[in-house]
Symmetry: C2
Subunit: 352 residues, 2 copies
């Protein structure tokens, strides 16, 4: 099995939320990364009983100071030798700054060796037109993005960062070019895009990605995949964790010396669909699709198990029905490791 | 791969420490449990940068109140439907009481259905004659043990609980009988026993286990295994997590109805070496031995990777050498999943 691991020895710092029960943030990222062979340092930015999609939860956030302290703890014991960093949900602008300082310090440390350190940043701010962080988190991210190697905004977050409205594929690709220009961020993937397009049938979504050229021009690709009609939490976090692995895998298998170039940026001769970023996203979406399909199929069992213990009047109470549905929609990952390791589904990137 | 999972759908509440970097407490238990197919709710009792064996660390403990709150958070959203609970390191007597209350509540909830809930309690208090918790944690554990189904003390912790000195195999087996008598605890395994015995060659350790009979008599078995000459942290936590899985697996494969009996206690006709507890411990030790062997072999690589970045004078500084050694002795688990899932080593329990 060791031979089947997609990446060489890889030490990742994962900064995100922790939930006791369920699968979002670091609770899903750490397992995904570990299952595919990464040694993960998990810096948890909150400890909540469950994700906020349930609309009720208990627990506490970790302060910016504590984030700094934990990182200092790693440093003082030679535990800061990271190959990659994945940053996800961070509660509050001050904490975003603290995590940003960590990323910059790790970059600084390895700057003599191009390609040694790679930072995947998921700018978690909101979705579907709604912010779910404080307003000052947006400028905190804007001042951070130009340090990241790869960012993974959803459509709404891409609007916030580019400060351009996205209404169709043209404005979306324009937003990507704007982000390359503004932040010099080398790699961008916009996740779960739901815009009319002739090549996107109904009940399908797409991701649009780009690795910029040496002159900062976007190299755009698109991958279309079927959507599953259910609201899942944690999909963005799972996508990000899988991108960490598959991006590293792709540059390790790429011809040439891309893994020894700053930010793993491919030579201008490489077309969009041949980019390591496109190869990585194809595999990630295959795993995602399989895990979501399995989750969808397994939901009834979770509902049954849970409602068995409930009073009949509770089973029709709206609030309680929502809780049970949220629980049933938790990603079913641990018994479906094959979907992560060796998905059989295939999606293909197309140039745009 | 799904078919190869050793246990049916199993939801475990794991209460223990979290370290950002490295593998002790929940950081190892959660991965072990998830890799073998359990849905784990991870309630972290601390978040430290690294384990305390480094002799320096940063981070904070979670209060008893927060432990209660997190559990209340689970309860209010129907997330407390656990099949098993694993409790490990808990900081302070008040927090031990809080975790004890959770275990008792889960037991109470399922008391109409024998065998529905099983609590594995690792009474983490100290090792080698030295307490590493506050003194009032000892009586807190003593008042808790009689609720647990399986306890996993090391030799020192067995002395603290039984209040009997252990100097040889006779006094050790006496301590086990005392714990069965005093706490009515059904299953006991004493880990890493290092006592002179004719059947224990040099450089070997043993675990001694017992599942009591219907009249409370110990049914003792012993498993001898080679020790590896290195101080590893987290081995107790890994042992405990694997016991959760393998115990459930063993009762599910046992003939008869043991999994529907209170505390999974086997019929008096079952001899010690045929106990699910003995079968479980055999498999656990096989995995442990393989992971420790792999870790031992991989240590040089970690030392090299770390010292490469160090100034020459730091490489001979005692404190720094200890830090690097501690890092190198972190259990190498994530790239050795086969050792967990399907160890090829075989150890055999003997009756005592």
């Amino acid at each position: 099995m060791a031979n089947a691991l997609p990446v060489p020895d890889t030490r990742v710092l994962a900064v995100a939320s922790h939930v006791v029960s369920g699968y979002v943030g670091n609770k899903i990222a750490v397992f995904v990364l570990q299952s595919l062979g990464c040694d993960v340092a998990a810096l948890n930015t909150v400890q909540f009983s469950n994700h906020t999609g349930y609309r009720q939860w208990k627990g506490t956030k970790v302060s910016a100071q504590e984030i700094k302290d934990l990182y200092d703890g790693l440093k003082q014991s030679y535990l800061d030798d990271f190959d990659m960093m994945l940053s996800g949900y961070i509660p509050g602008a001050e904490a975003v700054d603290a995590v940003g300082a960590i990323g910059r310090e790790l970059q600084e440390k390895s700057k003599g060796i191009p390609g040694k350190f790679f930072w995947v940043l998921d700018p978690v701010m909101g979705d579907n037109g709604r912010l779910y962080v404080a307003e000052d988190v947006v400028p905190a991210y804007r001042s951070l993005i130009h340090h990241a190697d790869l960012i993974l905004p959803n459509q709404f977050e891409a609007e916030l960062l580019s400060e351009a409205k996205i209404v169709d594929m043209d404005s979306l690709t324009n937003a990507i070019q704007l982000m390359h220009d503004k932040f010099k961020v080398p790699h961008i993937v916009i996740t779960s895009v739901n815009l009319d397009a002739p090549d996107q049938p109904p009940s399908h979504l797409s991701v649009i990605g780009s690795s910029m050229t040496s002159t900062g021009k976007a190299r755009l690709f698109k991958i279309v995949f079927p959507s599953i009609d259910c609201y899942f939490s944690g999909t963005g976090d799972m996508f990000a964790a899988l991108m960490v692995i598959r991006m590293r895998e792709a540059v390790h298998h790429a011809s040439g010396e891309v893994r020894f170039t700053p930010s793993w940026l491919s030579d201008d001769s490489i077309p969009a669909v041949e980019l390591p970023l496109a190869k990585a996203a194809e595999k990630v979406l295959a795993s995602m699709h399989e895990v979501l399909s399995k989750t969808s199929k397994g939901m009834t069992k979770v509902v049954d198990r849970t409602t068995d213990d409930m009073a009949p009047e509770d089973r029709v109470d709206d609030k309680k029905v929502h809780l049970v549905r949220s629980k049933a929609a938790e990603l079913q990952l641990v018994r479906n490791l094959d979907c992560l390791r060796s998905p059989s589904t295939q999606f293909h990137a197309k140039a745009m």
